[in-house]
Symmetry: C2
Subunit: 218 residues, 2 copies
């Protein structure tokens, strides 16, 4: 069975997956980049953005695992870009330049339809306005038997957690306090029940990798 997986999702010690005041100048919110310093240091992320070097080790292994066996990505509209409401002139094509680091179909949840955008390198952005289940079905179809990665941000993960559709959740606990922002484990009508910790590892950087899986999934 193909799975819906969250990978490399960093949360602060006080539970925030993004800082406050997200916008074009601060896509991760104030303080948000501190959640991702561990990732930026890895060889995987350095290579992804055209750099050289970067560290190998546990953190890099987890970064790589987030790509393995993935055939499509799902994300919320706010992860795709800072525009709210109608798309306007439709010039916005994501944060990632002409050749986004996906190289497979990406499904963006939105209330505003828009034609697909084929990009260089195999990424095509599809815009789904029919709800989270329709988006997931389309992503599974496009993945052709491989797994689907749920990107983010926080509110999108909450939508899928509330619907009980997340099979695996890899979090990275970062020992910083953000104080404000978007908390991952908020707005969950019921607790995300039925998950068990299947892996808990100290990273190369001072972080902890925590893998949760729905019982019976892994």
């Amino acid at each position: 069975m193909a799975k819906l997986r969250v990978h490399n999702f960093a949360v602060s010690l006080d539970g925030y997956g993004a800082g406050p005041e997200q916008g074009p100048e601060a896509p991760l919110g104030l303080g948000g980049p501190r959640l991702h310093e561990w990732a930026f240091k890895t060889r995987f992320f350095q290579t992804m953005f055209g750099g050289e070097g970067g560290e190998e080790g546990v953190d890099n292994d987890f970064a790589v695992a987030g790509e393995t066996g993935i055939g499509a990505t799902l994300m919320g509209r706010n992860m795709f870009g800072p525009i709210r409401g109608p798309w306007g002139d439709e010039e916005w094509k994501g944060w990632w330049g002409d050749n986004p680091p996906y190289h497979h179909p990406v499904f963006v949840l939105t209330h505003h339809r828009r034609p697909p955008i084929p990009m260089e390198g195999g990424t095509t952005f599809h815009f789904v306005a029919d709800g989270i289940k329709a988006a997931l079905e389309q992503a599974f179809d496009a993945a052709g038997g491989a797994d689907v990665r749920l990107g983010g941000g926080v509110s999108t993960i909450q939508l899928y957690l509330r619907a009980g559709l997340v099979d695996e959740l890899h979090l990275v606990v970062v020992p910083v306090l953000l104080g404000r922002g978007e908390r991952l484990f908020d707005n969950l009508d019921d607790l995300p029940d039925g998950y068990e910790c299947v892996e808990f590892v100290r990273g190369t950087a001072p972080v902890a990798h925590v893998c949760l899986a729905r019982r019976g999934v892994r």
Copy 2:
């Protein structure tokens, strides 16, 4: 300078330091004991409660460190007992039996005065109704130059964090989801600013030990 230190304070992955519905039958709240399984396994806790055996290693070292250099303990009234409001017949003398595992003066924050209770083994419970700063001063005086440990629960730690009085905070991140309960990093008017992570270690059990210190303190 003597310090105010929090030790071995366990929080769930979703940030809860105690489960919901705390009371005489569930002093740690529903699900709360899951936060402390790592501690119960240590030699330190086994010995404290008159048992034998228990594990040595990282978790035990942290448990022991929570006693080292401590001359007095501060705690909230709800950690002392389940009684709310006036003390009634004053028979309640804490959860810990005739010989509590403190062996030094313990200061209990309360709105209801009560004479001190000397116990076996060197513990005396003092009840302070003059606010958190007065309680801390009395604890420092009683500690005679040694540090003061801030026990809990969640709301008591929040009081001292809000007042900027906590020097060191050792948390134990436990990869369980409680869904409800008392969140440690809530009700903080401002973020607990100025802390840095000075230690981040994977435990013997699947937990992470995170030590935060106010900058310049350690």
